[in-house]
Structure formats: structure tokens, C-alpha cells
Symmetry: C3
Subunit: 110 residues, 3 copies
Amino acid sequence: MKLVYAIVHDEDQNNVITSLNENGFSVTKLFSTGGFLRAGNTTIIVGVADEKVDEVIEIIKQNSKSRKKVMDTAMSPGSGLNGVMLSFPLEVTVGGATIFVLDVERYEKI
Amino acid sequence: MKLVYAIVHDEDQNNVITSLNENGFSVTKLFSTGGFLRAGNTTIIVGVADEKVDEVIEIIKQNSKSRKKVMDTAMSPGSGLNGVMLSFPLEVTVGGATIFVLDVERYEKI
Amino acid sequence: MKLVYAIVHDEDQNNVITSLNENGFSVTKLFSTGGFLRAGNTTIIVGVADEKVDEVIEIIKQNSKSRKKVMDTAMSPGSGLNGVMLSFPLEVTVGGATIFVLDVERYEKI
Ligand SMILES: Nc1ncnc2c1ncn2[C@@H]1O[C@@H]2COP(=O)(O)O[C@H]3[C@@H](O)[C@H](n4cnc5c(N)ncnc54)O[C@@H]3COP(=O)(O)O[C@H]2[C@H]1O
Ligand SMILES: Nc1ncnc2c1ncn2[C@@H]1O[C@@H]2COP(=O)(O)O[C@H]3[C@@H](O)[C@H](n4cnc5c(N)ncnc54)O[C@@H]3COP(=O)(O)O[C@H]2[C@H]1O
Ligand SMILES: Nc1ncnc2c1ncn2[C@@H]1O[C@@H]2COP(=O)(O)O[C@H]3[C@@H](O)[C@H](n4cnc5c(N)ncnc54)O[C@@H]3COP(=O)(O)O[C@H]2[C@H]1O
């Protein structure tokens, strides 16, 4: 058993979850925020049999796309700019999804 | 050290957490939602010594029970019904708890 | 690749996240609550290359400090006091951060 952890855009999370459910996978949604842009995003966790991990990742890939976000550097929360108050807008590419697969030692359903 | 991840009903989470605390276990609660029923539930994480995992799982079992939830299929969010607008109520059994145990390679308390 | 899971105080989370970002690390923030004091805290997750784990933990250490919190035992939510209604305030030391490091079997960025 593996635990697939995926951080996706808020705009994609509904399609990702619905598509996973339609393919028979159970999903839990956690509310999260990105550290850098401080904007809301969605973290989903999917416990899945080892041989189904590829299929789950493929479904996430098909339902999430990268976007360009404009960040006003003057309000930059976590940038490496070390306090320099620039004011031009900075364009940041936010990827479709960031996925971590962890090994599950034991699984129980009560 | 292991990290016990348990997804429980909102109605059971208070008893589960209180009972774990009373038995000397520390718990962190994350707010979550089920993918299929789109209803709120609770994800708890418990970092615990290897030999205590059975005890933690037993406490969760004793404090969570499965329930039947009625879902109006006409509003079914993630069903495999592929858009067919049925309108009879569908009864779904939601288990007591779903538990994943992960291995912790390193633990630090600051 | 490792997944660093850290539970920090709400008062420290901004410094922890900003400092991690300034050092080139990506962070996701989950909203959480402590089981015992039932007060809000912050759980952050950082996916990081194996050889950078020490650096991430050091940054978290430098930006989080332990505090004493006063808990009114009469309202004690999860204590082992088994229902005895004491009313003197109880001082609880809440550590700076609790950190779990998990192994990541597979990492994908879409
Ligand atoms: N320290 C830094 N310096 C310069 N640029 C930075 C940066 N941290 C992030 N960025 C950029 O900003 C985008 C949004 O990051 P944010 O932290 O808000 O939102 C992130 C974060 O919530 C999560 N994430 C990505 N990688 C992660 C990791 N290794 N560990 C934990 N969470 C991660 O996925 C979201 C999207 O990440 P993505 O990489 O596609 O897109 C990132 C990346 O292009
Ligand atoms: N492998 C896994 N990985 C991650 N999270 C997991 C999981 N298995 C269960 N969960 C979490 O636990 C909740 C209860 O699951 P349970 O299987 O008892 O009860 C489920 C199950 O009986 C049914 N169900 C879920 N997904 C389904 C699907 N794709 N097709 C048919 N029935 C589904 O609906 C109930 C409520 O599901 P919901 O998604 O709202 O809420 C789920 C989900 O948040
Ligand atoms: N092994 C673990 N697994 C999962 N999460 C963990 C954890 N160890 C710590 N945490 C998380 O970190 C917060 C701070 O824990 P700390 O041990 O520094 O500080 C704790 C500890 O000094 C004390 N405490 C916690 N549980 C206790 C218990 N069962 N009996 C007595 N004291 C307890 O109360 C403080 C606040 O606890 P609270 O639960 O509100 O909040 C906890 C919890 O959210």
C-alpha cells in the first residue's frame, strides 16, 4: 500500500477528486496554503494498492495544469529579496501538481 | 517511531482525541473533507514509538463506529454514474476509521 | 527525497516559512490543532533532497521557540484528570517544534 500526497491548484482540485472517485479511488482533501505565494491550494491524500500508483498519478496529471501567477513583489511574503522594496510585478509559474509517494507499513479499515 | 494517520468521522473525533490524550499520546488534528461524500471529516496524526502502534489503533477502534449516510444521487459529486441524473437516495456505509501507518526515519523535538 | 513534517506554534510559522523560502525551499502549510490544548497550531510539509534535511531542521530550530501556556484545568479538554473538576491553573510547556522525517519513494512535479 502507498500513500499518494498531491498538492494541486484550487481550480483543479474538483476535477482531480471527481475523476479519482469515478475510477474507484478514495480521496481525502486537506486545506492548505502555499508557503511562497501564500495563496490557498489543495493537498489530497490517496491510499492505494502498490500496483495502482501509476494510474492515480496519471489521473492527477490529466486533471491539473500549470499556470502563471503574477505576484506583486512589493508585498512579497517569502522571497529571497531580503527586504528590498521592489514594486514591479513578478511572474511566477506554478506547476500543475507536486506529488510525493510514501510507503504504508500497515493499513486498517474499521 | 511511526506516524499513525487516521481519518475519522467528525462525530467521533472528540472521543478519539480525548482517549488518546488520556492514555499519554500526543495528537495533532487536521481539518479534512471526504472526496466522495464531500462532507467534513477529521484526519489525526499521532507520532508514536513502534511498540505502541497496536495500542493507538485499539483506542481509535474503540472510539469510532461506522455509520450509514444517505446521499441524494441527483447531487452526487463524485459518483461513477457519469452524469445520469438519478434521483433516488443512495445509502452509503462510511466506515469507522481509515488508518495508515508510516515509518518515521527521524524524530526531533525542539 | 524526504518529507519533513513539522508542527510549530502559530506565532512562529511566519518566520519559519519565510526563512525556508529565502533559503530556496518550498513549503506547504496545513491548518491544524493540538489535541491536548485544543489550540490552533501549524503543520508544515517540506519535500527536500536527502542531503538537505539537516539544513531544513536547523532553519526550523532557529525560528521556533518553546513557550509556557496556562491551561485552566476546570476546562481541561483531554487531560488524564479523569473528570476531577480542579480549578487551579495548570502550566504546560509547549515545545518549539515537533518534527517527523518520512522517506519519499517517488516524487513527481507536473
Ligand atoms: N523558495 C522559493 N523561491 C523561488 N520560487 C519559489 C519558492 N518556493 C516556491 N516558489 C515558486 O512559487 C510557486 C508557488 O509556491 P507556493 O509555495 O505558493 O505553493 C507550492 C507549495 O504549496 C507546493 N510545493 C511545491 N514543492 C513543494 C515541496 N518540495 N515541498 C512542499 N510543498 C511544495 O506546491 C505549490 C506549487 O509549487 P510549484 O513548485 O509548482 O510553484 C512554486 C514555485 O514556482
Ligand atoms: N484509501 C483512502 N485514501 C484516502 N482517504 C480515504 C481512503 N479510504 C477512505 N478514505 C477517507 O475516509 C472517509 C471514509 O471512507 P469509507 O471507505 O469508510 O467510506 C466511503 C466509501 O464507503 C464510499 N466511497 C468512497 N469513495 C468511493 C468511490 N470512489 N466509489 C464508491 N464508493 C466510495 O463513500 C464513503 C465516504 O467516502 P469519502 O470519500 O466521503 O470519505 C472517506 C475518505 O475521506
Ligand atoms: N507525537 C506527536 N504526534 C502528533 N502530534 C504531536 C506529537 N507531539 C507533539 N505534537 C503536536 O505538537 C504540539 C506541541 O507539542 P508539545 O509536546 O511541544 O507540547 C505539548 C505537551 O507538553 C502537552 N501534552 C500533549 N499531550 C499530552 C498528554 N497526553 N498528556 C500530558 N501532556 C500533554 O501539551 C502540549 C500541547 O499539546 P497539543 O496536543 O495541544 O499540541 C501538540 C501537538 O499538536
